[in-house]
């Protein structure tokens, strides 16, 4: 029998606009939320004594998957089955109450794990010893340092022979010494044939620790299998996307700016212009949100002065849809009035109300403008003398 079984698990979060959304939805029976698919039809069978790695970009659904396995959130559809005691190290000391002593908190945590009073009593000395808290165990937790708190959290969470251990790479507890004790304990679990679910951005760690792994991409499984192979595939993908024009700045997995090109009016790439010449900026972006998206473009001088901003919603321009869900738009200035200086573009994609930024690409396509004549200032404004 498998230790963890996930069968076509989907988790959809409802993103409401404003707090009245839920109430309106209840009363008017219309949809006032945007669904956010954190995980789509995900299935996995994790056998006993397996260390299972979860990798992927930010927002890929890793945390959601761990929460589902831990049981702190329920799937929208599909089933999650785990056997035995699941210990989560995602939030150390999450159930602790600051007013109670360390000892009281150990017992309370034990109760939430379904551990009997006798067993909790029996394990108490080991926990206190492991957490190195013998002097302070009868003090309220609010007097603890953050290190002491985390040490007690780790010691308690791992004390009651968990069958499945859910770990985040962010697991950093106390000083070097204690850190080593934690890592040793985790390896001890692994050697003892327990299940570990491990989520990390550190490919080296995943390869070292895990037997199996899954690569999640926008809520979907991109690859699964032996950890080394999955890590390879994911690393390839990471290198590819880094080589492209994609910056790290994705705020929301609803959109991604795929390419940006600065050209003259004839379509030739350029980065130097004369005042009065024309330029075109073509942006191609992928949108996953159902509603009409907005693309905003700003020209910014190198001292931070925002020269001009244009956006498609304001100008009532509909993004042109290409294939594969990619939209494109070209912003054209037929006669650039900017005077000499260094400039760049900032590009943002937002929802149609321009409230929520999906992605912001700062400082891209920088260009230089030169002008002849003795104009002085930011732009050449049309003027007459009378």
């Amino acid at each position: 029998m498998n230790a963890i079984e996930l069968d076509r698990v989907t988790k959809v979060y409802r993103v409401y606009q404003g707090s009245r959304g839920i109430l309106k939805e209840l009363l008017l029976r219309r949809q006032y939320h945007r669904p956010f698919w954190a995980l789509k039809e995900f299935s996995a069978r994790i056998g006993r004594a397996t260390t299972f790695g979860v990798i992927g970009d930010n927002g890929a659904g890793k945390s959601t998957l761990l929460k589902l396995i831990t049981g702190t959130t329920a799937p929208t559809s599909g089933t999650v089955r785990t056997s035995g005691r699941v210990a989560s190290l995602l939030e150390l000391g999450a159930g602790f109450h600051p007013e109670f002593t360390g000892r009281e908190n150990i017992h309370f945590t034990a109760a939430t794990l379904g551990v009997s009073r006798q067993e909790a009593r029996a394990r108490e000395p080991q926990i206190i010893e492991f957490a190195e808290l013998s002097e302070f165990i009868d003090q309220p937790i609010k007097t603890y340092s953050s290190g002491m708190y985390l040490r007690l959290g780790f010691a308690t969470a791992t004390a009651f022979d968990p069958d499945v251990l859910v770990i985040d790479e962010a697991l950093a507890v106390g000083d070097q010494n204690f850190q080593k004790k934690c890592v040793d304990r985790i390896h001890h679990f692994k050697d003892a044939g327990r299940n570990i679910v491990f989520c990390s951005h550190n490919m080296y760690q995943v390869r070292q620790l895990c037997d199996q792994a899954v690569w999640l991409h926008r809520g979907e499984c991109r690859a699964t299998g032996p950890a080394a192979e999955v890590v390879e595939q994911y690393s390839d993908f990471q290198r590819e996307s880094r080589a492209g024009t994609r910056p790290a700045g994705t705020l929301h997995p609803f959109s991604s700016i795929e390419s940006v090109a600065l050209t003259d009016l004839a379509g030739q790439p350029r980065s130097q212009f004369l005042t009065g010449e024309g330029l075109k900026l073509t942006v191609r972006a992928r949108f996953r949100a159902a509603s009409q998206p907005n693309l905003g473009i700003a020209i910014i001088r190198n001292d931070g002065v925002v020269c001009y901003c244009a956006n498609t919603v304001e100008d009532q321009f509909h993004l042109k849809e290409e294939k594969n869900g990619i939209c494109s738009a070209t912003l054209e200035f037929s006669q650039l009035p900017l005077l000499s200086g260094r400039y760049h573009f900032s590009i943002a994609t937002t929802d149609e109300r321009r409230l929520q930024a999906y992605e912001i690409m700062d400082s891209t396509c920088s260009f230089i403008v030169r002008h002849s004549g003795s104009d002085y200032g930011l732009v050449r404004l049309a003027h007459t003398w009378k």
């Binding site: 979060y13 409802r14 702190t72 329920a74 999450a94 159930g95 109450h97 109670f100 009281e104 939430t112």
Partner: protein, 261 residues
């Protein structure tokens, strides 16, 4: 993996104890407040309604017997009011547990109600002791306390679950409670005798289950007339109905609760 009933009961006990301790942790007189609070309320109401306003109780001619009548009505009200008020925010206050620990969430309103019921039990014990001290005898009618406490616990738990669940999705439940409680308080014959309600408003008084609950407590503690079969059946049905509705709401929302807290 679902936690067994035994685990849940154990956790419920731990949570209730934790709540009781928490309420009195660091306070000077600890659990003594459980007694002090209702006694103070009693003195206050007795003074106001015997010295300032005189509602004219037929069953209670002296100040002492008036105080007993008041107290028998006030005790269940205090517990009800306190439970519901605290249940409204119990999920938000324990957001940490709900979001980060795998946790049977229904235990939170459950332990809130239980801890408040245990305060009620202490206050009742004090009250019964005073009554015994005064009259020197214990009446068998005290046995009516058992169904009274049971119905109150079940009904309060149901209402608590409803309020707690609703507050997650609609944070202004407090505003409703702020209006609802004074309404309920004055719709219940606590500081005035049931008979003083004008005939044309009797239906309102009768529709309020708390009227019958208070009546049951008065019958148990003071040997007043029992509310009658129909009102008692009505009270039981409302209690059970509340509980079923609260439970149904919780069943529907428990999985997504942690996403909204």
């Amino acid at each position: 993996m679902s936690t067994s009933l035994r685990d849940r009961l154990f956790l419920l006990r731990e949570l209730t104890l934790r709540d009781l301790k928490l309420r009195y942790i660091g306070s000077l007189m600890g659990l003594f407040w459980t007694v002090v609070h209702p006694v103070f309320m009693l003195l206050l109401y007795t003074f106001v309604f015997s010295q300032v306003i005189r509602p004219g109780w037929p069953q209670a001619q002296t100040v002492g017997s008036f105080a007993s009548y008041l107290f028998a009505g006030l005790l269940p009200w205090i517990q009800f009011h306190e439970s519901i008020t605290r249940c409204a925010t119990v999920f938000i206050e324990n957001g940490n547990l709900i979001k980060k620990v795998k946790f049977p969430v229904e235990l939170l309103p459950g332990s809130t109600v239980l801890s408040s019921v245990s305060s009620l039990l202490v206050a009742l014990a004090v009250f019964v002791a005073i009554l015994f001290f005064n009259s020197g005898a214990v009446s068998l009618s005290l046995l009516w306390l058992l169904p009274a406490i049971l119905l109150q616990t079940v009904g309060t738990l149901g209402a608590g679950l409803l309020v707690a669940g609703t507050n997650i999705f609609m944070r202004d439940i407090h505003q409703f409670l702020a209006m609802g409680f004074p309404f309920l308080f004055w719709a219940t014959p606590i500081v005035y005798p049931p008979a003083s309600v004008p005939i044309r408003y009797q239906w309102l008084s009768g529709a309020n289950p708390l009227t019958h609950l208070v009546g049951l407590y008065r019958a148990a503690l003071l040997g007043a007339d029992l509310p009658g079969i129909a009102p008692l059946v009505y009270l039981s049905l409302v209690s059970a109905g509340m509980f079923i509705a609260g439970w149904a709401l919780l069943r529907r929302t428990r999985g997504i609760l942690s996403d909204y807290v």
